[in-house]
Amino acid sequence: MNRFFDIPSDLQHSWAGLIGLHLREALLPVLGGLVLALPLAQLCVRLRWLYPPVLWVTTVLYAIPSLAFFVVLIDYTGQTEVTVMIPLTVYTLVVLVPAIVDGVRSVPPETLAAATAMGFGPVRRYAQVQLPIAVPAIIAGLRVATVSSISLVSVGTLIGNQGALGNLLHDATIYNRPELAWNAVLTMAVLAILADALLVGVRVLLTPWMPSGTAGRGQGRGRKEAAAR
């Protein structure tokens, strides 16, 4: 364990450098996924028939193993970070789209009617009423997507050291140094927990009207209310 932070030079990064790389490779896809999921979810809320097929497609895409996805993409984007980030972006949709749809659907009809009566147009109503009320559900989705994204980046090590902290896993096996594998697993776990806690903090900041003890229940509650109607 005394060589815990002794990173092999073939990775060309310090421990902190790997963390930075890992966060970029994991978080940019979540951001990209959110940018894609917001309009897609809004479309699913507007056109109800579109929601089931969208769910099916995102589930099938999610089921494609990350390694196979990477290998197919190498043809187009090479052995680069982008090859890792594209599948991760696609995977986030399976969590984010239902989270946003449930969240937006859970807005009570009276609230929407009140907003319309106050003269809100559809755009302003979406941005200032529906989205803020959907924040707990969206953040619940973002938490799951972020944590799984941080974990999945490590598979990138198999396509030529594109896995940031995951590259430590490969080095751990070829140099037979288990402490590097410990380092990778623990660092990724701590990063995931910190990112998760940060998102809970964001939710508390964005929804000052809610009691802070209901963290992480947004998704379940949204689904229940959507089912009740």
Binding site: Y62, A63, A68, S154, A181, V185, A215, R221
Partner: protein
């Protein structure tokens, strides 16, 4: 040379339909890993979720455990466990179960919490004991959501069980890992297609399971 071309080439190649590296063998191995991991995860997640959800206690502790389990990287855990334990089924099962427990646990808890309290009170008023309330009132109502949690766990396992091949076990990951090192795209794409098909079959299976086990009244109110 697009992906569909590879899919076609893979499935029309007779060599992939027989022997120890044939599709039937690899699919049954993959199903074996999936079922074993799902059964183990359900054995842990379902009882804990049902009981904590019934009493409404420990929700915060549960979400902490689920967050910690989600935070553990599956592939990293596989490599670490293989280095510590050696090759075999155990180092594959540990990460798969760690992956599958959080969705089962959290969804089961949420499902039990979201059961309408009035039928539960009615059952208690009629003298039903706690076990009866849990199994005969809450469970049937919560079943659709619980199945949803099991379904998402199953799909994650189907897709992730491919990593077993990285530590020299079988399953559909064999095609993907071997194809990667042999630079044989046909094999990689074929393996990925089979995994995606298996995931679709899992969706269909859970839909059928829902039809069979969820009572008509509950289905209607959903």
């Amino acid at each position: 040379m697009n992906v569909l071309h590879y899919v076609n080439a893979f499935f029309s190649n007779d060599a992939y339909w027989q022997g120890y590296d044939g599709i039937p063998t690899r699919v049954s191995e993959h199903l074996g890993y999936t079922l074993e991991a799902l059964a183990l995860a359900a054995l842990i997640g379902l009882p804990v979720g049902l009981v904590t959800g019934h009493y409404g206690r420990g929700g915060n502790a549960l979400s902490l455990i689920a967050t910690a389990a989600r935070a553990l990287p599956t592939f990293g855990l596989l490599v670490l466990m293989t280095m510590l334990i050696g090759f075999g089924m155990l180092p594959v099962m540990i990460p798969l179960v760690v992956l599958a427990v959080p969705p089962i646990l959290v969804t089961t808890y949420e499902a039990m919490r979201s059961v309408d309290p009035s039928p539960v009170d009615a059952a208690r008023g009629m003298g039903m004991n706690e076990a009866g309330i849990l199994l005969r009132v809450e469970l049937p109502v919560a079943l659709p959501m619980i199945l949803g949690g099991l379904r998402s766990a199953a799909i994650q396992i189907v897709s992730t069980a491919t990593i077993a091949a990285y530590v020299s076990l079988g399953g559909l990951g064999r095609y993907i890992v071997d194809g990667l090192y042999q630079r044989d795209y046909e094999k990689v794409v074929g393996g990925a297609t089979l995994v995606a098909a298996l995931a679709l079959a899992t969706l269909a299976l859970f839909w059928a399971l829902g039809r069979l086990t969820v009572s008509a009244g509950v289905r209607r109110s959903n």
